[in-house]
Symmetry: C2
Subunit: 446 residues, 2 copies
């Protein structure tokens, strides 16, 4: 039994390790185009912020550990270029230019996602950077050192852009953020988004909204981002306008695609071809709130997906019920978390969304060190269900969101959720947890 895995990051290596654990006799081959496997991509902004640390710190497990201890046939520098579904084989090119072809019994596509790069002049210039692989991180770190970078223009305002902007500021670099849309964080409630914007601006980052970028040009002493009514000079540009799934191989092989061009999989992570699975950032998933397909590339789903595929390939039936769209990030001293649907998303689907937006505190009345927590909670008037929560605050946000995520998985109504026996002690919460305060308000409106 030959199990071939394309891609050696979270989903791929999780699948390889678990397959070998489940069935030590199985022939597990991982084909990775780079020379890095199993690293914490999400840790790159924090690593960048610390000039004393090497990007290699982010490697969770060295390639040789997979090879020697786990007996995984890990082949780095192997770029797969085609899948022949009739002959059940993959073909590609090695790093040295030689070709390879390998037959498979079961195949896993764990090809990840890539940053979207606008097709505009100058985005290929030296100093115009983006970040997905560990090599991207190494390049940025080196570029900053070599060029003594003092100012950066960040294009985009998603969570990677924001995390990177914090990292640049930690290095004493001036940051301008720019994007074409006029709304700072479109998926977020205005009041919550505004609290984040204030935090970012308080850290001396200039935010330019609603500026269409025309091109980037090289200047005598760096780069210039040219917009319709605005030019921004800098030494480096960081592009983070979104990512898209690496599904070309799947598409070429005739596999069914899902939302945003991701690879469509069922709950067992099987694609439209019964011998081919997909997991991680390249694959779609069911959303537990909507029951529909969605594409939300996050690390936990990749690891969990890798395990589920390994189980299914080794004969242990595994089904993933779906994602709730839970995410958290930090920007400067603010924690931002969400799960489920926002108002706009909910309106576009079959919901009749109602929201409550409340401001509460991170600690009890009179407890020192307390700070503001903003909560937006969304319920569906038709079903009474809780369908989404967003939260912003200096502390107690990142883990608090998990209670709402579990409620979404359980399909709880707001009426049920409001009865939850949540933890209280003065250093950690008001007696009524901010989420319960939001639920109490929402209950009145729904």
């Amino acid at each position: 039994m030959k199990f071939i895995i394309i891609g050696g990051d979270a989903a791929g290596m999780s699948a390889a390790s678990r397959a070998k654990r489940n069935r030590p006799d199985m022939d597990v081959i991982v084909l990775e185009k780079t020379f890095d496997v199993s690293y914490s991509a999400c840790g790159m902004p924090y690593n960048l912020a610390d000039s004393k640390r090497s990007m290699d710190d982010l490697v969770v497990r060295q390639a040789d550990v997979f090879r020697d201890r786990q007996k995984i046939d890990l082949r780095t520098g192997h770029l797969v270029e085609a899948i022949d579904i009739n002959r059940k084989a993959v073909r590609g090119t090695k790093h040295d230019g030689s070709k390879f072809e390998l037959p498979y019994d079961k195949l896993l596509l764990a090809t990840g996602a890539s940053p979207v790069i606008p097709k505009l002049p100058g985005f290929d210039l030296l100093g115009v950077t983006n970040m997905k692989s560990l090599d991207d991180g190494r390049i940025i770190k080196q570029f900053i050192t070599d060029n003594k970078v003092k100012n950066v223009v960040v294009i985009g305002m998603g969570y990677i852009a924001l995390e990177m902007c914090e990292a640049f500021r930690a290095l004493g670099i001036e940051v301008d953020m720019i994007k074409p849309r006029s709304v700072f964080i479109p998926w977020m409630n205005d009041k919550l988004a505004s609290a984040i914007k204030t935090e970012v601006e308080n850290n001396n980052v200039r935010i330019y909204l609603g500026h269409s970028i025309e091109k980037i040009v090289k200047t005598e002493d760096g780069l210039k981002v040219i917009c319709r009514n605005l030019d921004l000079s800098c030494q480096m540009v960081f592009v983070a306008v979104g990512i898209s799934p690496n599904s070309q191989l799947a598409q070429d092989a005739g596999l069914e695609l899902g939302p945003s061009g991701s690879i469509s999989v069922d709950k067992t992570l099987c694609t439209s071809n019964p011998d081919i699975y997909a997991a991680g950032d390249c694959a779609d998933a069911y959303h537990v709130v909507t029951g529909r397909k969605t594409w939300i590339p996050v690390a936990l789903r990749a690891n969990r997906g890798g395990w589920a595929v390994a189980d299914n390939v080794t004969g242990v039936k595994a089904e993933l019920q779906g994602v709730a769209g839970t995410a958290v990030f930090k920007v400067f001293d603010i924690q931002v978390a969400r799960t489920g649907l926002g108002m706009d998303e909910a309106k576009e689907l079959d919901f009749e969304p109602v929201e409550a937006v409340i401001e509460s505190r991170s600690r009890a009345h009179a407890h020192p060190g307390s700070s503001s927590i903003l909560v937006q909670m969304v319920g569906d008037r038709k079903s009474g269900r809780l369908i989404g929560v967003q939260m912003v605050g200096k502390e107690g946000v990142a883990h608090r969101i998990n209670a709402a995520a579990v409620a979404l998985h359980a399909g709880m109504t707001v009426d049920e959720f409001v009865q939850s026996d949540l933890a209280y002690a003065p250093p950690f919460s008001p007696v009524w947890d901010p989420m319960l305060t939001a639920a109490n308000q929402l209950l009145k409106r729904i």
Copy 2:
């Protein structure tokens, strides 16, 4: 319509406020034996630790605000001594010694709980303290200042004892803790309890387990706690060996009692008499995991209970589904949280409990500042249900427990819980949240 409430703390004042909001025309009378209403009792250890703060900081709302703005007939210094259920009246004594009698249409018992004081010689000496009311806190604070207290013996090792021991240490006071039982925290998994014990001892608190106390005696320069094989000298003793519900009034009136002598109520918080409700620390509740009655005195339940009673009394039907037994406290730099059942509790009931105990980290691989998180997760082999979680760690424990609490309310199986889409970002969690790591382990055993 005359609604009389006995007790002006969390449950009582929540009920009074909400009843007036629901029905401004209702005659709402609160009879409180002390002169303090609506204060954060849980904040007392933290207030004590800060010699610059007054205990009065903990008052959430002054009596006059309830009277003037909310039009609640709040009568402090009114001790109720009897309920006449036939004549539907309460009788008692005012602070000035005069008697009163008041008829009611609906009555709420929100009489709270009192510290258990061992019936042993010397527990009534000056300097032998305990803490429930704001006055208790004032007395302790004053006693420490007046006597320049340098050492305290704490009897008991529950969460109030531990919080107080942190407060005493913050004031530079030497602390000896002592109790008769040989197990440090009996309801907790050994490994987790041991981590807490180490933290307490690292903060120079001496812990004496398995010492039966015989008496407390006065000495020339203070007090001496005398045990069978050990004498501990100190200037002050703090007693925190447990609390018991104030249910004497209810018992005298012939109302049905529940676990630990608490007042038995149904899901509408009604006692065995249809015109009498009970809420807060004096009342029992259903446990959402066991479906049985339990007595767990915590602040959120008191507030929630007060609201539910007000709703029911004013014609808005409200039912409380029950408690999950969620609790959190901090001792020095350690956060301790629990929800649901421990192994021993589960064994005593109809469960076949299986546990997983794991050690994980508070932040992602290679993220600076990470610390250990210990999780015990308990499932029931018969039903597959998740039935309890305990957690100990320096960060990320207090709010994380809420996800498990919600899962208990939803009656989730371990198999369902393990699929939860929990939040991940490097500063806040490993990719697999510690709770998911525990659930993954538990799933293998269950």
